[in-house]
Amino acid sequence: MGTLAVTRALVSNTNPTEAQFDTMRTDLLNFFNAASMNQNNIATGGMTYASLASPVANNVTIKWTSSHATIQYVSADPKLKIQNTQGDIIWAHRTGSTITEFLSLRSSDGAIEVWGQMTINESVGNQTVGLQWLLSRYRKPRLLYSTDDIITVESNGPNSDESLIMMRDRLCKIVDTTCSLAVDANGETSGDTGAAVSGRAAAIARTANRWYYIYAVRVQYGDDNGGTYAILVAHTTSPETSNIATLNTAFGTGEWVYMGVIRNGYNDGVNTNIIVPFVYDECGYLRFTQGTSAGQPAGVTMATATDTSNLSYDLVIGNAAAATIPPVATRVIFGGHRESHGFELHYREIASLENHFITSGCYHVTELSTLAPVVYMEVPLLSGYRVVVVIGNVSTTKRITVFGLLDHYL
């Protein structure tokens, strides 16, 4: 506290001199004007905020005792800085002396503590669920087989018939969960108008015996371009790292998420342009559930013949022909079949002609006409390898299929 002390040189019964009054006047002026007066000369609790100059000037620190807590507008950046050099900063509800924390900035490490739920991206994306739900319950929805032309996607939200997909920067709802290879997608390409539709990507035709990679793509054009919707789009380009740039061009950078691969056509010479029924599981395994003929392995035919020779399929990784395997797989389950006889299913390195894996179809010599073994083997997807049905020398029908695969990119 500054101290006002006025010099009193007056003498009783004597007229005060001008100099004496000047001294008192100077004392008074010095007190008020030379900064000796401070806040301690103000009555505690006696001053209203209105008494303080408003607004608070740039770079002036509003400080609390000991200067631990401060509020300051820093004009250089500019930023409003709320600081506590000793403890937490808390936004709270107070009843009496009880403080209930709602939001805290933890002093020990600067972390944000949220005492209720936290919601992010309220101005972008779908708001059906909050952050905790996403962290605890969200999983990418599986693709589901529907018909020869159509796949759908499972409901994975808290509400029925609601499929949510976490894009790169927001949650989106799949606005059209029916994806048909018979129709063109709408809403993912510049110039699209009208309602969003799931389907084939722009300029991608439906071709017999090909793999189609399904992407969830944010609707960016047309009626449903509100930032909260996505559609399913079928494309012939796989999600391998080398294709990211191509997919960014097709769908917009970061506006797509890979959902899985489907197969159009059994490659059996008959059912070549229909979707092969499948099941995707949460571990990334794709398994085909139907085959070409009863008693033969399920899945997509890679090779078949009826003769006295061994049946071979040399692995082709890609999507440029009918008998190919998609590169998203790390492991492939091959099915092998021979009619009415035993056989062995070999996974053979072509260069050395040595087998790196064998599994066998059991048979019994007295039951040749009634047993038709079907076996499966799961092997790594490698180029330079061959799958062989080894039969001996009796002419029979044989088949090699891709029964399933482990999709590495899910």
Binding site: A57, W64, T119, H346, T359
Partner: protein, 415 residues
């Protein structure tokens, strides 16, 4: 202003010294003892710069359901609160709400949330869809971590302390994203100096038929300290009992397990990295073999079975080396390859039992083979809990049965 001073003099009275002294005393008492208050000064008279707000005092805004700001000296908390009745607190920039704390303590943010002590490029939304990158086998001495972002040569890894993205074209360098087993890792310790590099942990050397565990580790020392990470191959597996050891090596929250590799096929080629494919589901699938006549992976058994009683080929007990998979493996996928010595009439049976020799699975005898001196083969998947693989020769077989068994893939539950 309403400072008042007692006036005891007038035009027709004498001015006494005591009159003047009285006024000064009143003024001194006012400013020195009682203190001025708002009614004594004009609105806006004082500036905030001269004010220090008292601790443990409410500074209120509004009269009903008022907001308060208070510094509590007991626990040094700086509190912004709504008093008595909870109300929404808004955070605005340029007059636009960017976040709010509602009356149920929910924190609602209009945009994304970023972790500013780490990568500021990838927000919380991105991390929800994040997938930890896998290891990629390059050569018998090098592995890399895959690109898992839209940006070329960039890999994002989420650490307990936040996300870190590193961009490095590994065709030219090996520093962050490529590990060379001939290099000693540098930068994972606070005592390290110089440029960071991925490699083997100091003191860990490659030993035949041993598993090595690869961690992404935040660079804590040397030239690249900060928001960078390297890959370190360690002999310590990532099971929870080892976390304190890993914390000591790499800092608490400074490491993330990426996967493992196997050095040595077992049998032949015991000192080379076994080629592999690691997938996001946790499977480590071997794609190379030791030598001609072997199947994929690690040979864990090679026995000539001449007895018609079951012989134990392998007991799968978790270990970081030898004919075993480490404790972070939950399922072993393998193959069995029985071979005759040239005649056609060899056969036998394979059995899997638990540790007490109770049979869990059995494949009975086969007939003769179909291909020239090739054999049958079976696939098995076993939990890595001490199960046994057994085999016996067929009772009527004319020759012994040479059986080898391989680990062709493992499910790494900590990936």
């Amino acid at each position: 202003m309403s400072v008042t001073l007692t006036k005891n003099y007038g035009d027709l009275t004498l001015l006494f010294v005591s009159d003047i002294h009285g006024m000064w005393t009143e003024l001194e008492t006012k400013v020195n003892t009682t203190g001025l208050d708002s009614t004594d000064v004009a609105s806006g008279w004082a500036t905030w710069a001269m004010v220090t707000l008292e601790k443990d005092t409410d500074y209120t805004m509004g009269l009903t359901s008022s907001g308060i700001v208070r510094f509590y000296s007991t626990d040094n908390t700086f509190v912004f609160a709504h008093d008595t009745n909870a109300k929404i607190t808004y955070f605005k920039i340029n007059g636009t709400e960017v976040a709010q704390v509602d009356t149920s303590a929910n924190f609602k943010v209009k945009k994304d949330v970023f972790f500013y002590n780490r990568s500021t490029v990838y927000g919380l939304s991105y991390l929800i869809g994040y997938e930890k990158p896998v290891l990629v086998y390059l050569t018998s001495t090098t592995i890399q971590v895959e690109q898992n972002t839209n940006t070329a040569h960039r890999t994002l890894i989420v650490f307990p302390s936040g996300p870190i993205a590193v961009t490095e074209d590994i065709s030219a360098t090996h520093k962050f994203r490529k590990l060379v087993t001939s290099a000693t890792a540098n930068g994972y310790s606070t005592s390290h100096t110089g440029a960071a590099d991925s490699g083997m942990k100091s003191g860990v050397t490659l030993t035949a038929n041993t598993w090595y565990f690869v961690y992404a580790v935040i660079v804590r020392g040397g030239d690249d300290v900060g928001n960078n990470y390297i890959m370190v191959a360690d002999s310590v597996n990532p099971t929870p009992g080892n976390w304190s050891t890993l914390d000591t090596s790499y800092g608490s929250g400074g490491w993330v397990y990426l996967g493992m590799f196997r050095y040595g096929h077992g049998g032949a080629q015991t000192t080379t990295m076994v080629p592999f494919i690691q997938d996001h589901q946790g499977w480590l699938t071997f794609t190379g073999r030791a030598a001609s006549g072997n199947f994929f992976g690690i040979r864990v058994a090679s026995t000539t079975i001449s007895s018609t009683s079951y012989t134990t080929l392998e007991t799968f007990t978790a270990a970081n080396s030898g004919d075993a998979a480490p404790a972070n493996v939950s399922i072993i996928k393998g193959t069995i390859r029985p071979v005759g010595d040239g005649d056609s009439d060899f056969h036998g049976a394979i059995r899997i039992t638990d540790g007490s020799d109770v049979t869990l699975w059995e494949l009975p005898s086969f007939g003769s083979n179909l291909s020239d001196n090739e054999a049958h083969g079976w696939e098995f998947k076993l939990p890595n809990v001490g199960l046994k693989l057994k085999g016996r020769r067929g009772v009527n077989a004319s020759e012994d049965w040479d059986v080898t068994a391989y680990i062709s893939a493992v499910l790494d539950e900590w990936v």
